[in-house]
Amino acid sequence: MRDHTPTDMPTRNRPMNRGASLADDASRLDAVAKVTGAAKYARDMYPADCLFVGFVRCPVGSGQLAARDEAAARAVPGVLEVEIERDEGRYHGQPVGHIVAESKTALRRAMRALDARWTPGPCSVEIEQAAGEPPQTQGDIAQLLERAQHVLDATYETPVQTHSPLETHGGMAIHHGDRAELFSSTQGTSAAADGIEDQFGLPRAACEIHCEYVGGGFGSKLNGAGREGAIAARMSAKYRRPVSCFTDRDEDHLDTGNRPSSRARVRIGFQADGTVLGGHIHTWGGVGVARGGGGCAIPSNHYDLGRIQKTSEDVQLNAGAPRPFRAPGWPQGKFAEELMLDEICAACGLDPVEMRLRLERSDDRRDMIRTGARLIGWNQRRPNGSGGAIRRGFGLGTTDWPRFPRQAEAEVIVNRDGSVEVRTGTQDIGTGMRTVAGVLAADRLGCGLERVNVRIGHSSLPPGPGSGGSMTSHNTAPAIIEAALQARNALLDAVGDRLGIPPDELSIQNDHLIHDQEPMMDWAEACAKLPRDAVIGRASSDTPQSQRHVGEGHSQGVQFVDLRVDTQTGIVHVDRIIAIQSCGQVVMRKGAESQIIGGVIQGVSYALFEHKIHDKATGTMVNPNLEWYKILGSADMPRIEPVLWTKGQTGVRSLGEPPTIPTAGAIACAVFNAIGRPVRSLPITPDKVLAALEGGGR
């Protein structure tokens, strides 16, 4: 079987992205491992003698553990430990104890034998059950609203969305006596090492974290080793056996974070000609048992909306706490903002593209809006609510993501046998980071990508940032580039020395050593001239040398949606989405396109389907699975065309979060265009569409 991914596999179906990146035709370096099943994720580790830990959890929004039979649970064959730590709970899914058993089957039987009986108490699970009143509108804003020719007074709502990575949360720990290992499904290899020594009861240097492959995260695995990894480590120290602790699918919905629900009350004043004067925007975020994290990014600052008073409240509920979720606060804020703008357009008889070109603060994005309008065929857009039973709608939304500087380190090693190793303590949760690191090094070294092995996802590597906030690529890139340049210079020095040629007359291009514009020998022959085993370049992102590689660029984008609504069934069918996105210098084209497509798909799923539903009486989540918690599937797929915008982009920038920000807002606008009435609540399900058509609406 092929064990190295082919690095030259051209595709020709995205003409606009030809030549956009450093490696247009490269495939993922870990693709062969992933398509053959050879890739081992932490959840795939079942060493002989492995123990399993499961949490006993509160089944209601609030309650008392009235009765349980620990003795019966302990009596189940294969059970080693049953421990109940508390007898009250504040949300469905809250851990109140744990069981350790020799097999998953024994664990399930013990859970049943425990026969936990709960007495439910009063609880609030929806924002409206616990929200306070918005604070008073300040004087100048109140006056502005008085004076305005029109005021839009509307409330926009979004549901709780769960990350639902397909590999659930957890870790597998092995204690070897004087050292220990944790295989962690985490977005932060370096963060997973923090504090794990206390769980293992060993010095920090004796604890290793492995994180080779991660089955998705989207923000929910930014908590280091997590509760699951920590207890696996602790139990492995206690029993001196390997211990695996992974959540089941239902637990993953309940207690591994979410995008919090939101409400935005908007009172905004505008003139008949569409001039937006400003107003008061108050948002609520349903943060469950957490204290914060309910921010809702409206206004976005993409548009000039006049004078805005923004106030907000985090509403505590009997529900699991949020965690960062791919662009925290942004998809919910942009849903409200884009639909609000289109409602103002409708009141003034303005075209939504015209309106955004007027209000847009970024010249680049204004260009993107014009391009996107042509690509989607905006001129086919009809007035709101036109057509027969099946109505077509168009909408758009904008996105933006800043650079968050973080420290990262990298090493690039060129070996005498011609192989290259890139070492940095980051991880690839599906983002393509492994390949990004390889392409950047190969590009600066001048060698072929197939020579490069990338080592990431291990605690012994130079520390790298977590995969969150779209910070990984743009922070590791300067360090990788600088380390590669150092290694290249060291190689040229050494080889020049052997050949008696001044190193500044030598260069490396296309996998060859070049002198006097002529290839002298190939990369492998050049490396064979090294007097020692290897040359090494090392760099940290925060040095002046590395900072030279930060370059110019800004992650911005625009998405356009073309959809149809069946006014008899209320079903929304998204036909096509154009997603224009800049992300600095694109490193690998295919991976960048995938990031954009994936972000858009999550946005469509958020707009139309996803909803963590709690029963208001008991606080119990009623759909903790993948059949009733509906995630977009292949049959629901629109055509998605990712367009890489490269104008003026020289340094590596962010790409994880921005493409998921505008999608739901653009879809909501397109639904409004189709049916002529706004659906102000996500997900836009058929019942809401029908209610809006009947004039009820929310």
Partner: protein, 217 residues
């Protein structure tokens, strides 16, 4: 593991009764795709001997060779493959027929291995993702997934590849619509579907979806 109502004990729930308990209004295409697999998973005749409750020995023919495994009788095929046979390319995601990630081929037909007892897979040829490539070469559908970057985190990838393989086995030149319906039982959270469609089109000798050319300024 929550303390919400117990699922029926493993092995007593047939995939047919499971679907009945789900009611009729679920996302139609996905459920239908699962239901089609369900039929494939029905053993043709009920076993007549009694096994268990202690560990039992079974023989599974996986990827062309017989494996003798000692398992708890309630072990699903997915669990037997992952826990006992070390074939962890078969992923566990929902454990209740809602995601397709645990897909395997049984005598060439697509089955969710979480919904079948390992015991019942005896006497059939089980193909997992590990059994798809031949020495020295990947299966064309695997090559095509790589070429079109139809994978991100890779966790859904084995299931989607096997589902694509089964689809192409039944329909060598599927239309885009047939591909969408044929893969509707497989969830990908990272959002690779567009490139999966391209991979399947390409592997069946058809052109992938062509995106727009740059518009005139």
């Amino acid at each position: 593991m929550t303390m919400t109502p117990d699922p029926p004990p493993r092995g007593q729930v047939s995939r047919r009764s499971f679907l009945q308990t789900m009611g009729v209004s679920a996302a139609a295409a996905a459920v239908q795709a699962q239901a089609e697999r369900a039929d494939a998973a029905q053993p043709s005749s009920a076993p007549t001997t009694l096994s268990g409750p202690g560990p039992i020995e079974i023989t599974l023919n996986v990827n062309g060779s017989d494996r003798r495994l000692t398992i708890d009788p309630a072990t699903t095929l997915m669990e037997a493959l992952r826990w006992h046979a070390g074939l962890t390319g078969t992923k566990e995601v929902c454990d209740r027929a809602a995601c397709g990630t645990c897909s395997v081929l049984i005598d060439g037909r697509l089955v969710n291995s979480c919904m079948m007892l390992a015991y019942d897979a005896q006497g059939s040829r089980v193909t997992t993702i590990e059994g798809l490539a031949r020495p020295g070469s990947l299966d064309p559908i695997q090559e095509s997934f790589i070429r079109h970057d139809a994978l991100q985190c890779g966790y859904c990838t084995p299931g989607l590849i096997l589902a694509s393989k089964a689809l192409l086995g039944a329909n060598p030149r599927p239309t885009l619509d047939q591909i969408k319906k044929g893969l509707a039982g497989n969830i990908c959270r990272c959002g690779t579907y567009t490139n999966v469609f391209n991979a399947v089109l390409d592997a069946s000798g058809q052109s992938p979806l062509m995106d727009s050319e740059a518009p005139d300024a």
